[in-house]
């Protein structure tokens, strides 16, 4: 049902064009109105090999609404193949063709013998948000592009984590997760970012395992991969940030994939030693400042809300106030996610609130007693609110206006250190 979407923090399913954009040399071909790509893109960090303003688009007009846009779609795909050099063409539908009933699948099937693969994902805006759209795109790759194989590569692990672009740190995070998994002696395989692309997509069926690091986004995909290729998956719900969670994560991955305890503990010790060398040096900063209190709230998708809550509670000893999950998590996952927020050190439980109405989020933040200056990690919408409350604000979730991120990350041991740096960079600029 339609609802009041105040201070919105996600896009529509067609926003998954950014998932395609994150796959090197994969090109979204839009069957949509002329301006969807521009609306759904970020104004910075989008000028890669392909940029949103060069995505081929049927640019549906009034006549196509009446008579259908099938012919235009055909010529758009046909000429996209001629004009633009890509490895994979992903046709994405917007609202109009799905309402007027264009048979996109049929048109796309006409290109099954073309030199380059052309696939199709239904991503009409009203079908869900861009988290759902992201899953649709990955599903389309699994269903329409990947072929069954008996060949398995020993130790090969597909890693699925963030939703590209929606997550500011998608590139850095996935690289850091790869590094950690590789240190266990496994071979990570991911499809997003620099030099991954079609070759890595081709390797997906050969993996021994799928590793999903996300509270809910992508679960559908790894289940599909299990059905199609018999690849077992580990669903690790928390984005590991900092020592406590990352060590836990490494142990879980090692156990699932049969990596020896000895090897795992060796990796963990090496990281923890350095991590706590840094933490020890800066413990003075955590303890002896006059602006950061114990209570914090995160306003973000489930992925970051959970990851950051666990980090700040279990590593830094902060105390979670309400945590706001803004990704419109499907109902079926909610209870399970709520439970995760209740498993913190010392029996501490965080209350996770699923809320897409920013007004209600702001009201609850204003009402809460943070025992002093609140620490709010959220979207740009929380900046002014936090300032009004004399609190500390860090822009970690979409929309982002306070930060430029190329390939920085919060995942892993050193990601935790980066997050601490960001929080205290704000804190040291104040004195109370």
């Amino acid at each position: 049902m339609a609802k009041l979407l105040d201070k919105q923090r996600y896009k529509c399913a067609l926003g998954a064009m950014q998932t395609v954009q994150a796959i090197e040399r994969a090109l979204p071909v839009l069957h949509s109105g002329p301006g969807c790509a521009q609306k759904l893109s970020e104004s910075t960090g989008s000028s890669g090999y392909f940029s949103p303003n060069i995505f081929p688009c049927t640019s549906i007009n009034e006549k196509d609404v009446v008579f259908g846009g099938v012919k235009k779609l055909n010529s758009t795909i046909e000429n996209a193949l001629k004009v633009i050099d890509a490895d994979l063409y992903v046709v994405l539908t917007g609202c109009i063709p799905e309402i007027v009933g264009d048979d996109t699948q049929e048109v796309v099937s006409r290109f099954k013998d073309s030199e380059k693969p052309v696939i199709y994902a239904p991503t009409a805006g009203f079908k869900g948000n861009n988290y759902i759209g992201h899953e649709q795109v990955v599903d389309a790759i699994i269903d329409q592009y990947l072929e069954k194989t008996d060949e398995k590569e020993k130790g090969l692990v597909n890693i699925w984590a963030d939703v590209p672009y929606q997550d500011l740190f998608w590139l850095g995070n996935i690289r850091e997760l790869e590094k950690l998994v590789a240190e266990l002696g496994l071979t990570p395989n991911t499809i997003f970012g620099y030099k991954r692309g079609i070759e890595n997509i081709n390797k997906i069926p050969k993996a021994e395992y799928n590793l999903l690091i996300s509270p809910w986004v992508g679960l559908k995909n790894v289940k599909k991969l299990e059905r199609k290729f018999g690849t077992p998956y580990l669903h690790y719900k928390t984005l590991p940030i900092g020592a406590t969670e990352t060590s836990k994560f490494l142990r879980a991955v090692a156990e699932f994939t049969g990596v020896s305890k000895e090897k795992t503990e060796e990796v963990i010790k090496k990281h923890e030693d350095y991590y706590f060398y840094l933490i020890e040096r800066y413990a003075d900063l955590f303890l002896e400042n006059r602006v950061i209190n114990k209570q914090f709230s995160v306003v973000s998708d489930a992925h970051y809300a959970l990851g950051i809550t666990k980090f700040l509670a279990n590593d830094l000893g902060l105390v979670p106030a309400k945590q706001f999950i803004t990704d419109d998590t499907p109902q079926s996952y909610r209870e399970d996610i709520k439970k995760e927020f209740k498993e913190l050190n010392f029996g501490i439980e965080a209350e996770a609130v699923f809320e897409t109405d920013g007004y209600k989020i702001h009201s609850q933040i204003k009402e809460h007693d943070y025992h002093g200056y609140p620490l709010i990690l959220g979207g740009y919408y929380e900046k002014e609110l936090t300032e009004d409350l004399k609190g500390n604000f860090l822009n970690i979730s979409w929309p982002v206006q306070n930060k430029v991120v190329f390939d920085s990350y919060y995942a892993g041991y050193s990601g935790g250190i980066r997050l601490i740096e960001d929080i205290y960079t704000i804190a040291v600029q104040r004195f109370n």
Partner: protein, 488 residues
């Protein structure tokens, strides 16, 4: 033009003033064909993404202080709300004012496309009104709500009594027009319909309406206009509903960009007799002077204007002449909206830079009053001609042209366009700030900026050397109009 303020729907630029988005030829041919009525634009069987008219229309409205924009549609349509929030905060801060403008979506889903959601929309409007007490409410449709026939006009009519502030339906279906500037007209139409009031009796004003984008030159223009005893009212960024309600009392309306201001200017003239300044725009020396003189004429302040022009000329002309020596002989390709491309072409000509190709993102054969746009008329009267195409930001066409002509610079006004020129190795100048070439001072700065851009090509060369372009060799060998077909 006959504007009909009793209907919330306005015709698109294509239908109203015969605007086109596909043409390749020369400036002279384009003008001749427009004036004798034979110009027929082309459509394309292959195109790349461009811009949605709702982004233009609703961003304009969301720039007004303390209003509510309610965008009825899926979450992708109302995503503009995120940038609108940011813009209203930073723009207000820049002015030292506050704005509590909100931009709300309705996150319409599949069920709504089958069963409709006007009842929810009604509740959303009332709740937003209760939460924020906005000074005006704009309720917009989207492609999806437009196609399934959500009757936003009736809903707006229904809640009118309950909300007690101006509320108006805004029809922003993105498929309506390939010309995003239609969105500007839609915003103007909404403002004219519900916000602007008839002039109050006995009010004597020295105000002049100034339609612009982001009022970056506001303090400077206020100072300039003091010389003529005129007070500019900048629209719509940081406008208040109260201010807007009285723009019918102003002495005249002017704008920084004909594409942006044309509808409002004509509507105010037609409805309330506020003269609309129709001249070439303020870019460059010729433009600035012509524009000021027209204002002087219309508002009866010619003497003061002439005195100002004389003093400024003395200060700036020698400096501009000096820079011109270094610019002479450089070549340029430019791609901008028609409100700028034919104005900036004139300035480049003035500076001694040769325009080899000008792309206009669309082209209005005539303005609302039926005249050929003044910028075109000027170029023709002065016998300036160059190759021209009309292309709704079709980047592959721009790249084809840049690859063939290898100009010394590419000038563009739209996000996402300059990077491509750079990757081609062409220095690019991003003319985003609408005041970048305004008047003597900024014309001088513009000339110097061009010189800087052309002088240090390190960034362009570094990037061009290392990046592979996504267009195939096949495409570079084709004519620019390969995918044109007869307009349907």
């Amino acid at each position: 033009m006959a504007i009909n303020l009793s209907n919330s729907n306005i015709a698109t630029r294509e239908n109203r003033i015969g605007s086109i988005t596909g043409y390749v030829g020369t400036l002279k041919d384009l003008a001749t064909q427009s004036s004798c009525g034979t110009l027929k634009g082309c459509s394309r069987c292959f195109s790349q993404s461009s811009t949605c008219l709702s982004s233009c229309g609703l961003s304009q409205l969301a720039a007004i202080r303390d209003v509510a924009v309610i965008h009825h549609g899926p979450a992708g349509c109302s995503v503009t709300g995120a940038s609108a929030y940011y813009m209203s905060k930073v723009m207000a801060k820049k002015r030292g004012v506050t704005s509590d403008t909100v931009y709300i979506g309705t996150d319409m889903n599949e069920n709504d496309t089958i069963f409709g959601s006007t009842e929810t929309l009604r509740k959303v409007i009332l709740e937003v009104n209760k939460r924020y007490s906005p000074k005006a409410i704009f309720v917009s449709s989207s492609c999806a709500t437009g196609i399934i026939g959500e009757d936003i006009d009736s809903i707006v009519e229904d809640v009118k009594e309950e909300v007690s502030v101006p509320i108006v339906a805004v029809h922003c279906e993105g498929f309506k027009s390939r010309i995003w500037a239609t969105g500007f007209d839609i915003a103007d139409h909404a403002v004219m319909q519900e916000i602007v009031q008839p002039p109050r009796e006995g009010v004597v004003s020295n105000k002049i309406n100034f339609k612009n984008f982001f009022e970056s030159a506001r303090p400077e223009i206020i100072e300039i206009f003091k010389n003529f005893d005129l007070e500019p009212v900048f629209l719509y960024c940081n406008s208040t509903v109260e201010e807007l309600s009285h723009i019918s009392e102003s002495l005249a309306t002017t704008c920084i960009c004909g594409t942006l201001g044309n509808y409002l200017g004509n509507a105010l003239e037609e409805k309330y007799g506020v003269p609309y300044i129709r001249s070439i725009n303020q870019c460059g020396i010729k433009g600035f002077e012509t524009w000021l003189r027209e204002i002087g004429k219309v508002t009866g302040r010619s003497e003061k204007v002439e005195a100002y022009i004389a003093s400024e000329r003395e200060k700036y002309l020698p400096q501009i002449e000096e820079v011109k020596k270094e610019l002479k002989g450089l070549t340029a390709v430019l791609g901008m909206g028609p409100g700028y491309t034919f104005e900036v072409s004139r300035v480049l000509d003035e500076l001694g830079i040769k325009v080899v190709w000008a792309l206009a993102w669309h082209y209005d054969k005539k303005y609302e009053n039926g005249d050929v746009p003044p910028s075109m008329k000027y170029l023709l009267d002065n016998d300036i001609n160059f190759e021209t195409s009309v292309s709704d930001q079709q980047n592959y066409e721009v790249m084809n042209i840049l690859n063939k002509y290898k100009p010394d610079m590419y000038l563009s006004r739209h996000p996402g366009s300059t990077v491509w020129a750079i990757k081609n190795g062409t220095p690019a100048i991003y003319v985003a700030d609408e005041y970048m070439i305004f008047g003597y001072k900024h014309t001088l700065e513009f000339a110097k900026s061009i010189l800087d851009a052309v002088k240090n090509r390190s960034f362009e060369e570094n990037l061009a050397r290392r990046s592979k372009l996504p267009y195939t060799d096949w495409w570079y060998k084709q004519n620019v109009d390969t995918f044109f077909e007869e307009a349907k």
